[in-house]
């Protein structure tokens, strides 16, 4: 497809404008080599899904063409292009800045903005009421008392001065309480000294994908304030790539308060395995593979930890190819899951890459340490009839950990 570039229409200030939004990183040093497009898993599947061309439009000042490029919203912001770039141009970062600064909230695709608004209005993305939240926690507590055969088991709510505050995804409370139960069981097995807040507990933030930083920080800030209020030593985030990334990004970009580390739950579990707090009782025998969620892996460097945990608990661990920082996005990243107008592209076209990868491993279980990726995997598994089961890491290991009374 050829597009004529009319010099008279170019807007030379546009490049500087976009550059100003990303800390003045000079993407004008782009060599136009096309490694980004070669690195993008979808550039040869979807016409116009082309990071190189998009970047050229910005650099040349093709303002209208850039802002009307469907790529702005179809890009998964996965940074697969960026790992190939010899000039370190972070296209995902640029896409996010463009999304967040040139469009009215009313034209953001799908239901992204609706969810952002619900988060701003209610403190969590599913508008779970305080009463429903507490009642669900009490239910999980009762279930765990039975499962752990420990009638004194309590979820440590609003405990001060603990090693960490655990924050999670609203859907774990609303729709998937069994996932939260599995996590808390593993925490119990490891004997962690932690807390969960009764007030602020949803770590997710869909403004990561709308790019509107005002919303982004207004959603994330109360979580940080809660860590400080409860004097927790650090913040641990559940198996949700975008929630983890949002916490880290908002903290680095905007947080001015008391400092504390933010870690992914798999970093914590790996540490606990290494120092013996978490022990392996038995191993999963089915072949298991591991999906690297872009937000945790490429963007925040957490990839060995999840593998180490799985290798400890699984007799037959199989890596996908490629993997770690070269892994392909599930196809649902960048908020695409929340844009139903692109469902066909997301599942049938983008999903194909991942389906092929999974199939090649011959695994029966796919460990998916991300809620967003999980939805995409469930859609792909159905669409391509993979016959695999998609599970969070904690769900996989929950029945294979040594519980306290059985420790030596």
């Amino acid at each position: 497809m050829t597009e004529a570039i009319l010099a008279a229409n170019l807007n030379p200030g546009f490049r500087a404008e976009v550059q100003g939004l990303i800390g003045n990183f000079d993407f004008g040093n782009c060599l136009a080599c096309g490694m980004c497009t070669a690195g993008c898993p979808y550039s040869d599947l979807i016409p116009g899904h082309d990071p190189r061309k998009f970047l050229r439009k910005l650099i040349l000042g093709m303002r209208e063409e850039a802002l009307n490029d469907p790529y702005v919203w179809l890009c998964n912001m996965c940074e697969r292009c960026t790992v190939e770039c010899p000039m370190q141009v972070n296209i995902a970062n640029i896409v996010r800045a463009v999304r967040g600064n040139f469009y009215d909230r009313s034209v953001i695709p799908g239901f992204l903005q609706k969810v952002v608004q619900e988060q701003l209005d209610t403190g969590n993305q599913m508008s779970v009421s305080q009463e429903d939240y507490i009642e669900t926690l009490e239910w999980i507590e009762e279930e765990l008392q039975e499962e752990l055969e420990d009638p004194n088991y309590k979820i440590p709510l609003d405990k001060e001065d603990t090693d960490f505050m655990f924050a999670f995804n609203a859907r774990e409370i609303k729709y998937y309480p069994a996932d939260l139960q599995a996590i808390l069981k593993v925490f119990y097995a490891a004997g962690f000294n932690y807390t969960i807040s009764s007030k602020k507990w949803d770590a997710t933030n869909l403004a990561l994908f709308t790019g509107i930083d005002e919303d982004f920080y207004n959603i994330q800030r109360p979580l940080f304030e809660e860590v400080v209020r409860l004097r927790a030593k650090e913040l641990i985030v559940t198996e949700c790539g975008h929630a983890f990334r949002s916490c880290r990004l908002a903290y680095r970009k905007f947080w001015q308060g008391k400092t504390f580390p933010i870690r992914h739950i798999l970093q914590l579990l790996n540490e606990a395995l290494n120092d013996g707090r978490l022990q392996v009782k038995s191993k999963v025998t089915e072949p298991v593979t591991y999906h690297d969620p872009c937000n945790a892996v490429r963007k925040e460097g957490v990839f060995e930890e999840g593998r180490n945990v799985l290798k400890s608990f699984c007799a037959d661990f199989r890596d996908m190819n490629p993997n770690k920082k070269f892994n392909y996005c599930c196809g649902g990243g960048g908020g695409l899951i929340a844009m139903p107008e692109f469902t066909d592209i997301r599942v049938r076209i983008k999903g194909q890459r991942k389906a092929d990868q999974v199939r090649a491993t011959g695994a029966k279980v796919v460990a998916v340490p991300c809620h967003n990726c999980m939805d995409q995997f469930n859609d792909i598994t159905k669409k391509f009839e993979l016959g695999t089961k998609n599970k969070h890491v904690c769900t996989i290991i929950q029945d294979h950990v040594v519980l306290p009374e059985k420790k030596d």
Partner: protein, 105 residues
Amino acid sequence: MGTINVKGKEIEVDEDGFLVDPSDWNEDVVMAFAALEEIDELTDEHWNIINYLRDYFNKFQTAPMVRKLCKETGCSNKHMYELFPSGPAKGACKLAGLPKPTGCV
């Protein structure tokens, strides 16, 4: 957008296969969804959950918490997945004719 064929009639569903127009819902639609969701037979237990979801949605315009759903229908969370393999959010709600839940679902 797409459609599913229910006894010769094309019924509109969204990109994720949820009903677009709630008034299209009837028992035949449930049967058609059940086949797509790999549910072999609809039992009283299924109907109990479907009816609860519909009542709740009509009252509050949102799906209930899984906690509420389990408590009110007497179905354990685990059994819910046996009845509706896609789970309460994507399985049971779809059969009950609710729109797809928004958010990270």
